[in-house]
């Protein structure tokens, strides 16, 4: 398991490839689920110029480790990689990567969805959106993420 907080832009595809080569044995895994969250240039009816992502150093890592640990107890996870950006972020930059390696696809899909949903509701990160010069707003809550009809 690897959890990283990154204060600079990262390439999620490169990270997945590098991690897979270094941490997993070829032939061991049959499924890899990769989720990438990328910053949009719009939200809630407004154009967004950029974002500041604040976190709670120490607690954020602790909660992420706990969440991945919970996923490992529920599904047959071989390995997992979670990377989350903090600091100043621009539209189109990746914010979060959740990659999960398993033997079969069901565990990969379910474990990565669990990690992502738990991260959204429990990992201490806060987004402040920059709408223009001297115009900014804190995001009050995350969107639900799934259709509820």
């Amino acid at each position: 398991m690897s959890i990283k907080i990154s204060a600079t832009a990262f390439d999620p595809w490169q990270e997945v490839q590098t991690y897979q080569k270094s941490a997993l044995r070829a032939g061991q895994f049959g499924a890899t689920s990769v989720f990438i969250g990328t910053m949009r240039d719009f939200n809630d009816g407004a154009a967004i110029q950029g974002m500041i992502l604040e976190y709670y150093p120490g607690m954020t890592e602790k909660q992420l480790e706990k969440i991945v640990g919970e996923a490992q107890q529920q599904w047959a996870v071989l390995d997992a990689l979670v990377i989350h950006r903090v600091g100043a972020i621009l539209p189109n930059e990746p914010i979060v990567l959740v990659a999960v390696w398993t033997a079969h696809r069901g565990d990969a899909f379910d474990a990565s969805r669990y990690i992502m949903e738990a991260l959204k509701s429990r990992a201490p990160f806060w987004k402040k959106e920059l709408l223009g010069p001297e115009d900014e707003r804190w995001l009050v809550a995350n969107t639900q993420g799934y259709k509820t009809d």
Binding site: Y56, L119, A141, N142
Partner: protein
């Protein structure tokens, strides 16, 4: 016995309080809710506030120990 507690604030709460932390000393055991009241006399706890002690989520009625780090913050919005 005097208990020393560090209190930390994050995000919009830190901005509205205009500070990121407090160092407090108490002569008796307090709950997380009482720590807020001591640190922010007269200010009610904001709705939907989350609290942590030593970087784990806690109930507002849990008891704080000597040298604990208590944190208050708004709902999280990462990912």
């Amino acid at each position: 016995m005097i208990m020393s507690i560090k209190v930390r604030y994050f995000a919009s709460l830190k901005e509205s309080l205009d500070r990121s932390e407090d160092e407090l000393a108490f002569g008796k055991s307090l709950t997380v809710r009482e720590v807020w009241q001591c640190a922010n006399a007269g200010k009610p706890l904001p709705a939907h506030i989350l609290a942590a002690v030593n970087m784990d989520y806690v109930d507002l009625d849990s008891i704080v120990q000597d040298n604990d780090e208590v944190a208050f913050f708004p709902p999280v919005t990462g990912g």
